[in-house]
């Protein structure tokens, strides 16, 4: 009796495909055409000089910018040195272990939050207001506790700190509450330097960073086809200092990108390819993650929708392109256009998390966003964690073998019997069947007895429970003081800038 199958293919997970390889190639080569024939505008002289030295054509040089056209061979050359695998590992816990590992390459998948929303929903009053330091720390604490959140971004701008230096304070707030890998933002190059210094302190030195960085940097060129001075300077700094860069445009179909989804992907890819080439010119092997937030303008309200089906579809399609290129991908999901955490937020997140999980971007960000990315919601974060867990159950697929097909069990139980008492059930029910405390499955009478709580109320209770749970501080007082000092020094350097300090709260 042969027990092992031969010449037999198994789907280990469900598979989803938006584009064929031919279609991916059509988009890729179109992007090469745009990069070499239309070019991109670069608002940084160091940037266009570097491109020029590397072989690019530089035209229409103005005081602040130049048009850069890159022949396709430059892309081929850059891709040869571009890392196909990037690791980001979180900060050490009490035992000095860095346990949250993101190993970004073709088929791995990690979920994380979005960043830098001006507003947040207060966890207790549930009213929308400007985000503060404490909010970021609270949201990081939630992320630390939620098992399906793998990395964190500052779900709010700390607007009770100085505007010119808030990035350091945000980073401090995050370090206070989570050891998970972080994708930081930086106000400017100075803010990036400060945060890198903080990371060195937190890790215990530059050598530890070299083993694996504990953060990546979010860096956003402006669509269509423009790369600002800040963005270029950050890119070059990251290349020099082994910081993984998320080089991610946010094109909007019909407004800042062609109206067609394929056209938008061509443009987005052109924008990212420029970043890839420039980074490899500066330092071969420089770690770049591409992707972005892509959606279509809502032509009725003129907003940038974060919960649209086009967003889900573009994210999925673009991920396939990056997988084909073997560049780590920065996808989008878990976000909504709803103005509060309501049924719409849940519906949009359910579908866009499903598509993201089925396609599998390496870093899937923007969990916890509502209101078109302008507001963060702790409820949305908690709910998304549960939705991710649901989709992971689906990702486990349906294994087919003698054991799972259970023909012998069926024969034993026979017509009219039941499987509840069978060993086959007893041994598997906890792994086969997904359950969650947030999802109610009581019969009506029991649900009534337990207070008729709806999902939003249960999410609220779970969120408060996590926030109020005792947790040992992640930072020793001395470490906290050291990190805080960098923030304060930054504030001191900026203290004369009017309107900058305490602008909002």
């Amino acid at each position: 009796m042969q027990v092992r199958k031969n010449n037999y293919t198994v789907n280990m997970t469900p598979t989803m495909q938006v584009l064929t390889e031919n279609q991916i190639e059509a988009i890729y080569y179109a992007a090469l055409a745009v990069l070499s024939e239309t070019g991109v505008r670069v608002y940084d002289k160091e940037g266009w000089d570097l491109a020029h030295q590397g072989g690019a054509v530089v035209e229409d040089v103005q005081a602040d910018s130049a048009l850069v056209k890159m022949p396709s061979w430059m892309v081929d050359k850059a891709r040869a040195t571009l890392p196909q695998r990037i690791r980001v590992i979180g900060t050490p816990d009490g035992d000095g272990k860095r346990k949250y590992n993101m190993d970004l390459y073709k088929n791995t998948m990690y979920f994380g939050t979005g960043s830098d929303t001006p507003f947040t929903i207060d966890p207790y009053t549930q009213v929308r207001r400007r985000a503060t330091y404490k909010d970021v720390r609270n949201l990081a604490k939630l992320a630390e506790a939620l098992p399906n959140v793998d990395f964190f971004m500052s779900l709010g701008i700390t607007q009770d700190t100085a505007v010119g230096t808030y990035d350091r304070w945000q980073y401090l707030a995050m370090l206070e509450a989570t050891n998970k890998p972080i994708n930081i933002t930086a106000v400017d190059i100075e803010g990036l330097k400060d945060q890198l210094e903080m990371a060195y302190i937190r890790l215990g030195g530059k050598e530890e960073w070299k083993k694996a960085p504990c953060f990546s940097l979010y860096n956003e060129p402006v669509s269509p086809l423009s790369h600002s001075e800040e963005v270029i300077q950050k890119l070059l700094f990251c290349a020099d200092n082994d910081i993984p860069i998320v080089y991610t445009p946010c094109p909007l179909a019909g407004a800042t990108a062609p109206a067609t989804l394929a056209g938008l992907m061509v443009q987005a890819l052109t924008e990212s390819l420029f970043g890839i080439v420039l980074s490899q010119l500066r330092k071969p092997g420089c770690q770049v993650i591409i992707g972005g937030l892509m959606s279509a303008m809502d032509m009725q309200t003129a907003v940038y929708p974060y919960g649209s089906p086009e967003m889900a579809l573009l994210s999925a399609g673009y991920t396939e392109i990056t997988k084909w290129m073997r560049v780590p991908e920065y996808e989008t999901a878990g976000c909504s256009d709803a103005k509060c955490f309501d049924e719409q937020a849940c519906m949009e997140a359910a579908i866009n998390i499903s598509t993201a999980a089925m396609i599998g971007g390496n870093m899937i960000h923007d969990i916890g966003y509502i209101e078109q990315g302008l507001c963060s919601s702790p409820h949305m974060l908690v709910a998304s964690d549960e939705i991710i867990s649901r989709t992971k159950r689906i990702l486990r697929g349906i294994p087919v073998n003698a054991d799972t097909q259970a023909l012998d069990v069926l024969d034993q139980v026979g017509p009219g019997g039941h499987f509840l008492g069978h060993d086959h059930t007893y041994n598997r029910f906890k792994t086969e069947n997904w359950r969650s405390a947030l999802t109610d499955r009581q019969v009506y009478a029991d649900w009534e007895t337990s207070g008729c709580k709806d999902y939003q109320q249960r999410v609220q209770e779970r969120m408060v429970e996590i926030l109020e749970a005792d947790a040992a501080p992640l930072l020793e007082p001395k470490m906290y003081q050291e990190l805080r000092r960098i923030c304060e020094l930054a504030d001191a350097r900026h203290k004369d800038e009017e309107l900058d300090v305490q602008m909002f709260v």
Partner: protein
């Protein structure tokens, strides 16, 4: 000009590989041949025995050639027709097409006025049918409830009588027994213009449900025989519960449920070769604490997707499931569960996806859930249309024309595509915060309630022929007469 080029028309999705499907298929044949089913209908056993089945008491085992023969006879593509000939309401069953509709037999209903949960009544049937008729992404009709305020034997008949004049979308008709079936058929045939006309353009589908594990009940088979002999397209849909009435594993429940369907298929094709036949139904897991069949579990979309692939591999259309929830109310859970199941259902192109609008694990029907799911279906349909890639959509020329740091709002290219490329929601709100606030800070629940009430107040479905109305009255009167002595 491109050569040697393959494109996806829409998004592709697979749970099983071809090898796995072949193995699943053969597992079903094995089960039917060696374990078999109990068929609790003597006439059916005789028919099957004559056709080659091995009958041993109630147990019926089918040699594989019989099942394969039945599969070959059953059509993969056919049309379900709108009773009024409205081409927009016809359903073309075939590869790559997913259609959606409500489910039957909930005991309770969310009152559209008070929003309270209460028993389902006769007066609710036309409301469901009218909403179905109006919603753009709902394609067929079921009643979302069991009529509780008529004689207990006549619920199904009143359901059909209430739905038929209130929507011209094809109806999937549930019934208690073959007497109901006959009454329902008489109404449908009257509108079609005779049995022959009905056979050519069937305007409803008959629904039967065998019992898991592995039992073909008397009623299910009796109704199947009626449908087959009258050439009514048939849904034969078991409702196995993984870990309860089916093996706990996905491959096990699908194998068993398919065997239950194919017993019905074999009988139906023996009686009426070529009868349109949907295998089905609701495959999900038991919640091992509350013991409910979990209509919102992630196992449901997963198992249904696997089942769909098996059905299509075998060449049959599928009676899919989605848009349903275990939630007791219109909340985030209801949306997450409903949206995920319709999304996966759309991805797999399960041919008729039912139970849209179920809440409370199929105990309560909700127009609001139905209306919200209409939006989720539209949303999902946009995604599964995929991304078109050709020279015009790649837009290299347009990008070149616009160049860096400009915009596309005034481009003819934008004007050409902005309506067809994007989904425009009806319930999902995309205003900015200030506008949303000044328009009343409405949640999706409030907007959904408003939309349902608006549709119910304004939508007018096409009318049935006057003669049909007379037949409906006659059928109901005869039925009342039949049961008047039964308490």
């Amino acid at each position: 000009m491109r050569t040697n080029y393959v494109a996806n028309a829409g998004v592709r999705f697979n749970v099983f590989s071809q090898d796995q499907l072949e193995e699943m298929f053969n597992g079903v044949l094995h089960l039917l041949m060696y374990t078999g089913l109990d068929v609790k209908h003597e006439e059916a056993r005789d028919i099957l025995a004559k056709a080659g089945a091995w009958v041993d008491g109630e147990r019926v085992r089918l040699p594989s050639y019989m099942v394969k023969d039945a599969l070959r006879k059953a059509p993969r593509s056919f049309t379900l027709w709108a009773r009024d000939g409205n081409p927009k309401h016809n359903i073309h069953i075939g590869p790559g097409r997913a259609h959606f509709g409500p489910g039957p037999t909930c005991t309770h209903f969310i009152d559209p006025e008070t929003l309270e949960r209460r028993p389902y009544t006769k007066a609710d049937v036309p409301l469901v049918a009218r909403l179905v008729d109006a919603l753009p992404n709902i394609d067929f009709c079921e009643s979302l409830g069991t009529v509780g305020d008529v004689h207990f034997d006549l619920g199904a008949l009143y359901e059909f009588a209430g739905m038929f004049p209130n929507t011209s979308k094809p109806i999937v008709a549930w019934s208690y027994d073959k007497y109901d079936s006959a009454g329902i058929h008489e109404i449908a045939v009257a509108e079609a213009g005779g049995q022959r006309a009905f056979e050519q353009r069937p305007n409803y589908v008959h629904y039967c449900e065998p019992l898991s594990p592995l039992v073909s009940t008397f009623e299910a088979i009796d109704k199947l025989i009626f449908a087959a002999t009258h050439r009514v397209p048939l849904v034969f849909t078991p409702c196995p519960i993984a870990g309860g009435t089916a093996p706990i594993t996905g491959a096990g429940i699908i194998t068993m449920g398919a065997a239950e369907s194919w017993m019905g298929l074999t009988l139906a094709q023996t009686l009426q070769p070529g009868l349109p036949f949907f295998m089905g139904g609701v495959f999900s897991a038991m919640d091992m604490n509350t013991m409910i069949l979990a209509y919102g579990a992630p196992e449901l979309p997963l198992y249904m997707a696997g089942l769909t692939e098996l059905a299509h591999y075998a060449g049959l259309p599928l009676w899919q499931t989605g848009g349903c929830t275990d939630s007791k109310t219109f909340d985030g859970q209801a949306m997450i569960e409903g949206a995920m199941s319709v999304f996966f259902s759309a991805l797999t192109s399960g041919d008729l996806c039912h139970d849209v609008g179920y809440t409370e694990s199929a105990m309560t029907g909700s127009l609001f859930q139905l209306c919200a799911m209409d939006e989720a279906i539209g949303y999902s349909r946009r995604i599964i249309r995929g991304i078109e890639v050709d020279d015009d959509t790649l837009a290299v020329d347009v990008i070149n024309k616009v160049g860096p740091n400009n915009h596309y709002l005034r481009q003819p290219h934008t004007r050409k595509y902005y309506k067809s490329e994007y989904f425009y929601p009806k319930l999902l709100d995309r205003q900015d915060f200030e506008n949303w606030e000044s328009s009343g800070s409405l949640t999706m629940k409030q907007r959904t309630v408003a939309r349902v009430r608006d549709v119910l107040a304004t939508h007018k479905p096409s009318q049935v022929k006057p003669e049909t109305m007379q037949v409906i009255e006659k059928v109901l009167a005869e039925a009342e007469d039949r049961v008047k002595d039964k308490k």
